[in-house]
Protein backbone atom coordinates (compact mmCIF):
# COMPACT_ATOMS: atom_id res chain seq x y z
CA UNK A 1 0.00 0.00 0.00
CA UNK A 2 1.20 3.45 -0.97
CA UNK A 3 2.14 5.88 1.69
CA UNK A 4 -0.67 8.40 2.20
CA UNK A 5 0.08 11.76 0.70
CA UNK A 6 -0.49 14.92 2.69
CA UNK A 7 -3.55 15.78 0.62
CA UNK A 8 -5.06 12.40 1.28
CA UNK A 9 -4.61 12.63 5.01
CA UNK A 10 -6.10 16.11 5.01
CA UNK A 11 -9.08 14.82 3.04
CA UNK A 12 -9.57 11.87 5.37
CA UNK A 13 -9.66 14.12 8.38
CA UNK A 14 -12.20 16.59 7.00
CA UNK A 15 -15.58 16.57 8.78
CA UNK A 16 -17.32 16.53 5.41
CA UNK A 17 -17.59 13.84 2.78
CA UNK A 18 -15.50 14.44 -0.33
CA UNK A 19 -15.70 12.44 -3.51
CA UNK A 20 -14.76 12.85 -7.15
CA UNK A 21 -15.96 11.19 -10.33
CA UNK A 22 -14.12 11.04 -13.63
CA UNK A 23 -16.61 12.24 -16.24
CA UNK A 24 -14.26 11.27 -19.03
CA UNK A 25 -14.18 7.70 -17.70
CA UNK A 26 -17.93 6.94 -17.31
CA UNK A 27 -18.21 8.91 -14.05
CA UNK A 28 -16.28 6.32 -12.09
CA UNK A 29 -15.28 7.36 -8.62
CA UNK A 30 -11.67 8.43 -8.29
CA UNK A 31 -11.82 9.92 -4.81
CA UNK A 32 -13.72 8.74 -1.69
CA UNK A 33 -12.63 10.09 1.68
CA UNK A 34 -13.19 8.65 5.18
CA UNK A 35 -16.25 10.74 5.94
CA UNK A 36 -17.78 9.59 2.65
CA UNK A 37 -17.18 6.00 3.77
CA UNK A 38 -18.90 6.75 7.03
CA UNK A 39 -21.90 8.47 5.53
CA UNK A 40 -22.54 5.97 2.76
CA UNK A 41 -21.52 2.85 4.73
CA UNK A 42 -19.37 2.02 1.70
CA UNK A 43 -15.61 1.48 1.84
CA UNK A 44 -13.37 3.37 -0.54
CA UNK A 45 -11.92 0.14 -1.94
CA UNK A 46 -15.37 -0.87 -3.04
CA UNK A 47 -16.39 2.49 -4.38
CA UNK A 48 -13.30 3.54 -6.30
CA UNK A 49 -13.40 2.43 -9.93
CA UNK A 50 -17.17 1.98 -9.79
CA UNK A 51 -19.90 4.40 -10.79
CA UNK A 52 -23.17 5.47 -9.14
CA UNK A 53 -25.08 2.65 -10.82
CA UNK A 54 -22.80 0.10 -9.21
CA UNK A 55 -23.27 1.57 -5.73
CA UNK A 56 -26.74 3.06 -5.48
CA UNK A 57 -30.27 2.35 -6.67
CA UNK A 58 -30.99 3.14 -10.28
CA UNK A 59 -33.26 5.97 -9.28
CA UNK A 60 -30.60 7.59 -7.11
CA UNK A 61 -27.91 6.98 -9.70
CA UNK A 62 -30.03 8.60 -12.41
CA UNK A 63 -30.46 11.61 -10.22
CA UNK A 64 -26.76 11.89 -9.33
CA UNK A 65 -25.81 11.52 -12.93
CA UNK A 66 -28.17 14.27 -14.07
CA UNK A 67 -26.78 16.63 -11.44
CA UNK A 68 -23.23 15.76 -12.44
CA UNK A 69 -23.99 16.49 -16.05
CA UNK A 70 -25.61 19.78 -15.14
CA UNK A 71 -22.51 20.77 -13.18
CA UNK A 72 -20.27 20.00 -16.14
CA UNK A 73 -22.54 21.79 -18.54
CA UNK A 74 -22.72 24.92 -16.45
CA UNK A 75 -19.04 24.74 -15.69
CA UNK A 76 -19.49 26.08 -12.21
CA UNK A 77 -20.38 25.12 -8.67
CA UNK A 78 -23.87 23.79 -7.96
CA UNK A 79 -25.52 23.63 -4.56
CA UNK A 80 -27.92 20.83 -3.72
CA UNK A 81 -29.69 21.91 -0.50
CA UNK A 82 -30.95 18.45 0.31
CA UNK A 83 -30.57 15.03 -1.22
CA UNK A 84 -31.28 11.63 0.19
CA UNK A 85 -29.27 8.45 -0.16
CA UNK A 86 -30.19 4.99 1.01
CA UNK A 87 -27.45 3.47 3.11
CA UNK A 88 -26.89 -0.03 4.36
CA UNK A 89 -26.38 0.78 8.04
CA UNK A 90 -28.18 4.05 8.62
CA UNK A 91 -31.14 3.91 6.30
CA UNK A 92 -32.03 7.22 4.72
CA UNK A 93 -29.32 9.80 5.07
CA UNK A 94 -29.97 13.44 4.21
CA UNK A 95 -27.11 15.38 2.65
CA UNK A 96 -26.38 18.94 1.74
CA UNK A 97 -24.03 18.82 -1.17
CA UNK A 98 -22.05 21.13 -3.39
CA UNK A 99 -20.70 19.84 -6.64
CA UNK A 100 -18.10 21.53 -8.83
CA UNK A 101 -16.37 20.77 -12.07
CA UNK A 102 -12.60 20.28 -11.88
CA UNK A 103 -10.16 19.71 -14.72
CA UNK A 104 -7.44 17.14 -13.95
CA UNK A 105 -4.43 18.87 -15.38
CA UNK A 106 -2.34 15.72 -15.64
CA UNK A 107 -4.83 13.63 -17.57
CA UNK A 108 -7.01 16.34 -19.01
CA UNK A 109 -10.03 14.50 -17.69
CA UNK A 110 -13.15 16.33 -16.51
CA UNK A 111 -13.90 15.58 -12.89
CA UNK A 112 -16.99 16.26 -10.79
CA UNK A 113 -15.99 16.89 -7.19
CA UNK A 114 -18.63 16.66 -4.48
CA UNK A 115 -18.60 17.82 -0.89
CA UNK A 116 -21.45 16.57 1.29
CA UNK A 117 -22.50 17.41 4.78
CA UNK A 118 -24.68 15.00 6.75
CA UNK A 119 -27.81 16.96 7.75
CA UNK A 120 -29.92 13.96 8.80
CA UNK A 121 -30.19 15.09 12.41
CA UNK A 122 -31.16 18.62 11.47
CA UNK A 123 -33.83 17.31 9.14
CA UNK A 124 -35.18 15.03 11.82
CA UNK A 125 -35.27 17.85 14.35
CA UNK A 126 -37.09 19.98 11.83
CA UNK A 127 -39.60 17.23 11.22
CA UNK A 128 -40.15 16.89 14.95
CA UNK A 129 -40.57 20.59 15.25
CA UNK A 130 -43.10 20.59 12.46
CA UNK A 131 -44.94 17.74 14.14
CA UNK A 132 -44.94 19.56 17.47
CA UNK A 133 -46.13 22.67 15.77
CA UNK A 134 -48.96 20.77 14.13
CA UNK A 135 -49.94 19.35 17.52
CA UNK A 136 -49.77 22.81 18.99
CA UNK A 137 -52.10 24.16 16.33
CA UNK A 138 -54.46 21.27 17.01
CA UNK A 139 -54.33 21.77 20.78
CA UNK A 140 -54.90 25.45 20.24
CA UNK A 141 -57.98 24.71 18.19
CA UNK A 142 -59.25 22.31 20.83
CA UNK A 143 -58.68 24.99 23.43
CA UNK A 144 -60.65 27.47 21.38
CA UNK A 145 -63.45 24.91 21.00
CA UNK A 146 -63.46 24.22 24.71
CA UNK A 147 -63.56 27.92 25.39
CA UNK A 148 -66.58 28.23 23.13
CA UNK A 149 -68.24 25.38 24.98
CA UNK A 150 -67.39 26.99 28.29
CA UNK A 151 -68.92 30.25 27.17
CA UNK A 152 -71.98 28.35 25.99
CA UNK A 153 -72.19 26.44 29.26
CA UNK A 154 -71.73 29.63 31.22
CA UNK A 155 -74.48 31.22 29.18
CA UNK A 156 -76.79 28.34 29.94
CA UNK A 157 -75.92 28.47 33.62
CA UNK A 158 -76.71 32.17 33.73
CA UNK A 159 -80.01 31.60 32.03
CA UNK A 160 -80.66 28.80 34.48
CA UNK A 161 -79.98 30.96 37.52
CA UNK A 162 -82.06 33.80 36.16
CA UNK A 163 -84.84 31.41 35.23
CA UNK A 164 -84.88 29.79 38.65
CA UNK A 165 -85.28 33.19 40.27
CA UNK A 166 -88.09 34.17 37.95
CA UNK A 167 -89.74 30.79 38.32
CA UNK A 168 -89.74 30.99 42.06
CA UNK A 169 -91.35 34.43 42.03
CA UNK A 170 -93.94 33.45 39.45
CA UNK A 171 -94.97 30.17 41.08
CA UNK A 172 -96.91 31.68 43.98
CA UNK A 173 -98.93 34.27 42.04
CA UNK A 174 -99.86 31.50 39.63
CA UNK A 175 -101.02 29.34 42.48
CA UNK A 176 -103.16 32.19 43.73
CA UNK A 177 -104.76 32.75 40.34
CA UNK A 178 -105.52 29.04 40.24
CA UNK A 179 -107.10 29.17 43.69
CA UNK A 180 -109.26 32.04 42.47
CA UNK A 181 -110.29 30.10 39.39
CA UNK A 182 -110.99 27.06 41.57
CA UNK A 183 -113.28 29.12 43.72
CA UNK A 184 -115.15 30.77 40.87
CA UNK A 185 -115.66 27.51 39.00
CA UNK A 186 -117.57 26.06 41.94
CA UNK A 187 -120.41 28.52 41.68
CA UNK A 188 -121.07 29.08 38.01
CA UNK A 189 -124.38 30.42 36.80
CA UNK A 190 -125.61 27.48 34.67
CA UNK A 191 -127.32 29.89 32.25
CA UNK A 192 -124.10 31.66 31.34
CA UNK A 193 -122.03 29.20 29.28
CA UNK A 194 -119.33 31.82 28.71
CA UNK A 195 -118.25 31.82 32.34
CA UNK A 196 -117.30 28.18 32.24
CA UNK A 197 -115.40 28.63 28.97
CA UNK A 198 -113.57 31.63 30.35
CA UNK A 199 -112.64 29.81 33.54
CA UNK A 200 -111.48 26.73 31.63
CA UNK A 201 -109.29 28.88 29.41
CA UNK A 202 -107.92 30.74 32.41
CA UNK A 203 -107.09 27.46 34.09
CA UNK A 204 -105.37 26.15 30.97
CA UNK A 205 -103.40 29.36 30.64
CA UNK A 206 -102.23 29.15 34.23
CA UNK A 207 -101.32 25.49 33.83
CA UNK A 208 -99.33 26.34 30.71
CA UNK A 209 -97.44 29.03 32.58
CA UNK A 210 -96.95 26.58 35.42
CA UNK A 211 -95.45 23.99 33.06
CA UNK A 212 -92.96 26.56 31.82
CA UNK A 213 -92.08 27.50 35.37
CA UNK A 214 -91.59 23.86 36.34
CA UNK A 215 -89.46 23.36 33.27
CA UNK A 216 -87.32 26.29 34.30
CA UNK A 217 -86.93 24.93 37.78
CA UNK A 218 -85.93 21.57 36.34
CA UNK A 219 -83.49 23.24 34.02
CA UNK A 220 -81.78 25.00 36.85
CA UNK A 221 -82.29 22.18 39.31
CA UNK A 222 -79.40 21.78 41.67
CA UNK A 223 -80.78 18.66 43.20
CA UNK A 224 -78.39 15.75 43.35
CA UNK A 225 -79.26 12.68 41.39
CA UNK A 226 -80.41 9.60 43.16
CA UNK A 227 -78.95 6.87 41.03
CA UNK A 228 -79.39 3.16 41.05
CA UNK A 229 -78.29 0.39 38.72
CA UNK A 230 -81.09 -0.29 36.27
CA UNK A 231 -81.71 -2.38 33.22
CA UNK A 232 -82.36 -0.17 30.26
CA UNK A 233 -85.06 -2.34 28.71
CA UNK A 234 -87.15 -1.96 31.85
CA UNK A 235 -86.79 1.81 31.74
CA UNK A 236 -87.87 1.85 28.12
CA UNK A 237 -90.83 -0.37 28.85
CA UNK A 238 -91.96 2.00 31.57
CA UNK A 239 -91.46 5.08 29.43
CA UNK A 240 -93.46 3.59 26.59
CA UNK A 241 -96.24 2.90 29.03
CA UNK A 242 -96.22 6.55 30.06
CA UNK A 243 -96.41 7.81 26.48
CA UNK A 244 -98.71 5.05 25.28
CA UNK A 245 -101.56 7.47 24.80
CA UNK A 246 -99.50 9.68 22.54
CA UNK A 247 -98.23 6.71 20.54
CA UNK A 248 -101.71 5.29 20.04
CA UNK A 249 -103.17 8.66 19.15
CA UNK A 250 -100.58 9.17 16.43
CA UNK A 251 -100.62 5.48 15.35
CA UNK A 252 -96.85 5.38 15.72
CA UNK A 253 -95.29 1.98 15.28
CA UNK A 254 -92.59 1.29 17.86
CA UNK A 255 -89.74 -1.12 17.24
CA UNK A 256 -87.46 -2.02 20.10
CA UNK A 257 -84.09 -3.52 19.44
CA UNK A 258 -82.12 -3.91 22.65
CA UNK A 259 -79.03 -6.09 22.74
CA UNK A 260 -79.23 -9.04 25.11
CA UNK A 261 -77.27 -8.82 28.34
CA UNK A 262 -76.81 -5.09 28.16
CA UNK A 263 -74.80 -3.95 31.19
CA UNK A 264 -76.63 -2.03 33.89
CA UNK A 265 -76.61 1.74 33.73
CA UNK A 266 -76.69 3.96 36.78
CA UNK A 267 -79.70 6.21 36.48
CA UNK A 268 -81.92 8.46 38.45
CA UNK A 269 -85.07 6.78 37.24
CA UNK A 270 -87.48 9.71 37.43
CA UNK A 271 -85.01 12.12 35.86
CA UNK A 272 -84.07 9.70 33.16
CA UNK A 273 -87.67 8.91 32.38
CA UNK A 274 -88.16 12.62 31.87
CA UNK A 275 -85.35 12.57 29.30
CA UNK A 276 -86.75 9.57 27.49
CA UNK A 277 -90.28 10.93 27.44
CA UNK A 278 -89.00 14.19 26.00
CA UNK A 279 -87.07 12.43 23.27
CA UNK A 280 -89.89 10.06 22.38
CA UNK A 281 -92.50 12.82 22.31
CA UNK A 282 -90.20 14.98 20.20
CA UNK A 283 -89.77 12.12 17.76
CA UNK A 284 -93.51 11.51 17.63
CA UNK A 285 -94.16 15.19 16.95
CA UNK A 286 -91.51 15.18 14.23
CA UNK A 287 -93.43 12.37 12.51
CA UNK A 288 -96.61 14.44 12.44
CA UNK A 289 -96.66 14.54 8.65
CA UNK A 290 -95.26 11.05 8.12
CA UNK A 291 -97.96 8.64 6.89
CA UNK A 292 -96.45 5.64 8.69
CA UNK A 293 -94.59 6.91 11.69
CA UNK A 294 -92.01 4.46 12.93
CA UNK A 295 -89.98 4.83 16.07
CA UNK A 296 -86.93 2.66 16.52
CA UNK A 297 -85.39 2.39 19.96
CA UNK A 298 -82.05 0.66 19.71
CA UNK A 299 -79.68 -0.14 22.56
CA UNK A 300 -76.26 -1.67 22.48
CA UNK A 301 -73.07 -1.72 24.45
CA UNK A 302 -69.68 -0.65 23.18
CA UNK A 303 -66.20 0.17 24.27
CA UNK A 304 -65.20 3.73 23.52
CA UNK A 305 -62.48 4.13 20.95
CA UNK A 306 -61.17 7.08 19.00
CA UNK A 307 -62.61 9.51 21.45
CA UNK A 308 -60.96 12.63 20.13
CA UNK A 309 -62.07 12.27 16.58
CA UNK A 310 -64.56 15.01 15.74
CA UNK A 311 -65.33 15.59 19.36
CA UNK A 312 -64.53 18.52 21.55
CA UNK A 313 -62.34 18.37 24.58
CA UNK A 314 -65.38 18.47 26.80
CA UNK A 315 -66.64 15.16 25.53
CA UNK A 316 -63.16 13.84 25.78
CA UNK A 317 -63.43 14.38 29.51
CA UNK A 318 -66.62 12.43 29.74
CA UNK A 319 -65.43 9.16 28.32
CA UNK A 320 -62.04 7.68 27.89
CA UNK A 321 -60.86 5.15 25.45
CA UNK A 322 -61.79 1.68 26.61
CA UNK A 323 -64.76 2.80 28.73
CA UNK A 324 -67.74 0.53 28.38
CA UNK A 325 -70.82 2.54 27.52
CA UNK A 326 -74.39 1.89 26.57
CA UNK A 327 -75.54 3.60 23.42
CA UNK A 328 -79.24 4.22 23.10
CA UNK A 329 -80.62 5.51 19.82
CA UNK A 330 -84.08 6.89 19.32
CA UNK A 331 -84.65 7.00 15.61
CA UNK A 332 -87.68 8.42 13.83
CA UNK A 333 -88.71 8.71 10.21
CA UNK A 334 -90.06 12.21 10.59
CA UNK A 335 -89.22 15.54 9.07
CA UNK A 336 -85.67 15.70 10.45
CA UNK A 337 -83.86 18.77 11.73
CA UNK A 338 -83.62 21.97 9.71
CA UNK A 339 -80.00 22.85 9.00
CA UNK A 340 -80.28 26.24 10.69
CA UNK A 341 -81.69 24.73 13.86
CA UNK A 342 -78.88 22.28 14.55
CA UNK A 343 -76.77 24.61 16.66
CA UNK A 344 -79.71 25.84 18.73
CA UNK A 345 -81.46 22.55 19.50
CA UNK A 346 -80.29 22.47 23.09
CA UNK A 347 -80.73 26.17 23.81
CA UNK A 348 -83.34 26.87 26.44
CA UNK A 349 -86.55 28.30 24.98
CA UNK A 350 -85.66 27.22 21.49
CA UNK A 351 -88.61 25.46 19.95
CA UNK A 352 -89.91 24.79 16.47
CA UNK A 353 -93.35 24.05 17.79
CA UNK A 354 -96.22 26.53 17.64
CA UNK A 355 -96.63 28.92 20.55
CA UNK A 356 -98.22 27.13 23.45
CA UNK A 357 -97.20 23.70 22.20
CA UNK A 358 -93.74 23.51 23.61
CA UNK A 359 -91.80 25.28 26.29
CA UNK A 360 -88.53 25.02 24.42
CA UNK A 361 -87.03 23.56 27.54
CA UNK A 362 -87.42 19.85 26.92
CA UNK A 363 -84.17 19.23 25.11
CA UNK A 364 -82.07 21.60 27.19
CA UNK A 365 -83.30 19.92 30.36
CA UNK A 366 -82.74 16.48 28.82
CA UNK A 367 -79.20 17.36 27.82
CA UNK A 368 -78.46 18.62 31.28
CA UNK A 369 -79.85 15.56 32.98
CA UNK A 370 -77.84 13.28 30.72
CA UNK A 371 -74.73 15.34 31.41
CA UNK A 372 -75.36 14.97 35.14
CA UNK A 373 -75.39 11.24 34.58
CA UNK A 374 -71.95 11.49 33.04
CA UNK A 375 -73.40 10.79 29.65
CA UNK A 376 -73.87 12.56 26.40
CA UNK A 377 -76.90 13.44 24.31
CA UNK A 378 -76.71 14.32 20.64
CA UNK A 379 -79.38 14.89 18.08
CA UNK A 380 -78.83 14.75 14.35
CA UNK A 381 -80.41 13.84 11.07
CA UNK A 382 -80.19 10.25 9.93
CA UNK A 383 -77.49 9.55 7.39
CA UNK A 384 -80.11 8.43 4.88
CA UNK A 385 -81.95 11.75 5.43
CA UNK A 386 -85.16 10.01 6.37
CA UNK A 387 -85.60 11.45 9.83
CA UNK A 388 -83.63 12.22 12.94
CA UNK A 389 -81.66 10.28 15.51
CA UNK A 390 -81.23 11.09 19.17
CA UNK A 391 -78.26 9.30 20.66
CA UNK A 392 -77.65 8.80 24.35
CA UNK A 393 -74.29 7.55 25.48
CA UNK A 394 -74.33 6.41 29.08
CA UNK A 395 -71.55 5.20 31.32
CA UNK A 396 -71.86 1.74 32.80
CA UNK A 397 -69.63 2.45 35.73
CA UNK A 398 -70.34 4.91 38.45
CA UNK A 399 -67.22 4.97 40.56
CA UNK A 400 -64.78 5.97 37.89
CA UNK A 401 -64.60 9.55 38.98
CA UNK A 402 -65.96 10.52 35.63
CA UNK A 403 -69.46 10.76 36.88
CA UNK A 404 -69.13 14.31 38.05
CA UNK A 405 -68.09 15.36 34.59
CA UNK A 406 -67.02 18.85 33.74
CA UNK A 407 -67.04 19.75 37.39
CA UNK A 408 -66.34 23.37 36.65
CA UNK A 409 -69.24 23.70 34.29
CA UNK A 410 -71.66 22.12 36.66
CA UNK A 411 -70.16 23.25 39.93
CA UNK A 412 -73.49 24.70 40.99
CA UNK A 413 -74.98 21.27 40.95
CA UNK A 414 -72.15 19.54 42.70
CA UNK A 415 -72.03 21.89 45.62
Amino acid sequence: MQKQSLVESVLDNLPVAVFAKDATDDFKFVLWNKKQEEITSLRAVKALGNDDYDLFSEESANYFRSVDKAVLKRGKLLKVPEEIIDTKHRGEVHLRTVKLPVKDEKTGHDLVVGISEDITEQVQSLRQLEHLNKNLVKTNKELADTQMQLIQAEKLESIGRLAAGVAHEVKNPLAMILLGVDYLSRGIDPDDGNVETILTQMREAVERADRIVRGLVDFSSQRALSREPVKLDLVIEEVLLLVRHELTRTTTNVVIDIEDNLPHVFLDMSKFEQVMINLVINAVHAMHDTPRGELLIRGRSERIKDVIKNQGARKFEVFREGDRVVILDIIDNGSGIEKGDVSRLFDPFFTTKATGHGTGLGLSVAKKIVALHGGNLTLENREDGKGARARLILPTEIDTGKVSLVPKLLKEIDT
Binding site: H168, K171, N172, L174, A175, M176, L178, L179, G180, D182, Y183, R186, G187, R214, V217, D218, S221, R223, S270
Partner: protein
Protein backbone atom coordinates in the same frame (compact mmCIF):
# COMPACT_ATOMS: atom_id res chain seq x y z
CA UNK B 1 -120.40 20.50 63.26
CA UNK B 2 -117.89 21.46 60.60
CA UNK B 3 -114.23 20.64 61.13
CA UNK B 4 -112.06 23.61 61.97
CA UNK B 5 -108.92 24.38 59.99
CA UNK B 6 -106.32 26.99 60.91
CA UNK B 7 -104.23 28.48 58.10
CA UNK B 8 -100.86 29.90 59.13
CA UNK B 9 -99.12 31.71 56.29
CA UNK B 10 -97.73 35.23 56.02
CA UNK B 11 -99.19 35.80 52.58
CA UNK B 12 -102.57 37.39 53.22
CA UNK B 13 -103.91 37.14 49.66
CA UNK B 14 -103.04 33.49 49.46
CA UNK B 15 -104.61 32.56 52.79
CA UNK B 16 -107.75 34.49 51.96
CA UNK B 17 -108.23 32.65 48.67
CA UNK B 18 -107.42 29.33 50.28
CA UNK B 19 -109.87 30.01 53.10
CA UNK B 20 -112.68 30.75 50.66
CA UNK B 21 -111.95 27.57 48.73
CA UNK B 22 -111.74 25.35 51.80
CA UNK B 23 -115.00 26.77 53.11
CA UNK B 24 -116.79 26.35 49.84
CA UNK B 25 -115.40 23.00 48.68
CA UNK B 26 -114.61 21.30 51.97
CA UNK B 27 -117.28 22.85 54.14
CA UNK B 28 -114.68 23.60 56.77
CA UNK B 29 -114.66 26.42 59.26
CA UNK B 30 -111.43 28.24 58.46
CA UNK B 31 -109.42 30.75 60.45
CA UNK B 32 -106.41 32.69 59.14
CA UNK B 33 -103.30 33.68 61.06
CA UNK B 34 -100.80 35.71 59.01
CA UNK B 35 -98.42 36.31 61.90
CA UNK B 36 -96.59 33.12 62.78
CA UNK B 37 -95.58 34.40 66.23
CA UNK B 38 -99.29 34.52 67.08
CA UNK B 39 -99.96 31.04 65.69
CA UNK B 40 -99.86 29.23 69.04
CA UNK B 41 -102.16 31.72 70.77
CA UNK B 42 -104.63 31.64 67.89
CA UNK B 43 -104.55 27.85 67.83
CA UNK B 44 -105.16 27.63 71.57
CA UNK B 45 -108.23 29.86 71.33
CA UNK B 46 -109.54 28.47 68.03
CA UNK B 47 -108.91 24.79 68.87
CA UNK B 48 -108.59 23.66 65.21
CA UNK B 49 -108.98 20.05 64.05
CA UNK B 50 -106.17 20.55 61.57
CA UNK B 51 -103.49 23.17 60.93
CA UNK B 52 -102.13 24.14 57.52
CA UNK B 53 -98.70 25.62 58.05
CA UNK B 54 -96.38 27.38 55.65
CA UNK B 55 -92.72 26.53 56.20
CA UNK B 56 -91.03 29.73 55.09
CA UNK B 57 -92.32 32.68 57.10
CA UNK B 58 -90.69 35.74 58.67
CA UNK B 59 -90.36 35.77 62.45
CA UNK B 60 -91.01 32.14 63.34
CA UNK B 61 -90.88 29.63 60.56
CA UNK B 62 -93.19 26.66 60.17
CA UNK B 63 -90.79 24.35 61.96
CA UNK B 64 -90.71 26.62 65.05
CA UNK B 65 -94.48 26.85 65.09
CA UNK B 66 -94.78 23.09 64.79
CA UNK B 67 -92.39 22.59 67.72
CA UNK B 68 -94.53 24.91 69.83
CA UNK B 69 -97.65 23.01 68.88
CA UNK B 70 -96.00 19.70 69.76
CA UNK B 71 -95.25 20.96 73.27
CA UNK B 72 -98.81 22.02 73.92
CA UNK B 73 -100.79 19.10 75.40
CA UNK B 74 -103.98 20.44 73.87
CA UNK B 75 -102.52 20.76 70.36
CA UNK B 76 -99.87 18.06 70.04
CA UNK B 77 -102.32 15.56 68.52
CA UNK B 78 -103.71 17.99 65.95
CA UNK B 79 -102.70 16.95 62.41
CA UNK B 80 -100.45 19.44 60.64
CA UNK B 81 -100.13 19.96 56.90
CA UNK B 82 -96.88 21.69 56.03
CA UNK B 83 -96.66 23.60 52.76
CA UNK B 84 -93.22 24.06 51.36
CA UNK B 85 -91.64 25.14 48.13
CA UNK B 86 -88.43 23.58 49.38
CA UNK B 87 -89.63 20.15 48.40
CA UNK B 88 -89.07 19.73 44.70
CA UNK B 89 -92.48 19.29 43.13
CA UNK B 90 -90.96 16.59 40.95
CA UNK B 91 -90.20 14.55 44.04
CA UNK B 92 -93.77 14.70 45.16
CA UNK B 93 -95.35 14.62 41.74
CA UNK B 94 -98.55 12.86 40.83
CA UNK B 95 -100.19 13.71 44.13
CA UNK B 96 -97.64 11.94 46.24
CA UNK B 97 -97.32 13.23 49.76
CA UNK B 98 -94.68 12.76 52.39
CA UNK B 99 -95.90 11.86 55.82
CA UNK B 100 -94.20 11.74 59.20
CA UNK B 101 -96.20 11.27 62.38
CA UNK B 102 -99.09 13.74 62.47
CA UNK B 103 -97.39 15.91 59.86
CA UNK B 104 -98.04 15.76 56.15
CA UNK B 105 -95.77 17.68 53.77
CA UNK B 106 -97.23 19.12 50.60
CA UNK B 107 -95.35 20.90 47.85
CA UNK B 108 -96.02 24.56 47.30
CA UNK B 109 -97.72 26.07 45.33
CA UNK B 110 -100.48 23.99 46.73
CA UNK B 111 -102.84 21.98 44.59
CA UNK B 112 -106.30 22.61 46.05
CA UNK B 113 -107.66 19.18 45.24
CA UNK B 114 -104.65 17.51 46.79
CA UNK B 115 -104.98 19.61 49.95
CA UNK B 116 -108.71 18.79 50.19
CA UNK B 117 -107.90 15.10 49.84
CA UNK B 118 -105.24 15.21 52.53
CA UNK B 119 -107.49 17.14 54.92
CA UNK B 120 -110.23 14.61 54.37
CA UNK B 121 -107.81 11.84 55.31
CA UNK B 122 -106.34 13.42 58.44
CA UNK B 123 -109.52 14.94 59.86
CA UNK B 124 -112.02 13.00 61.95
CA UNK B 125 -115.46 12.55 60.36
CA UNK B 126 -116.98 16.04 60.37
Amino acid sequence: MANKVLLVDDEAGFTQLLKMNLEKSGGYEVMIENDSTQALATALSFQPDAIVLDVVMPGMDGGDVQAQLQQSPRLSKVPVVMLTALVDSAELSEGAVAQAGTTTVLPKPVDLNLLLRVLEEVLPEG
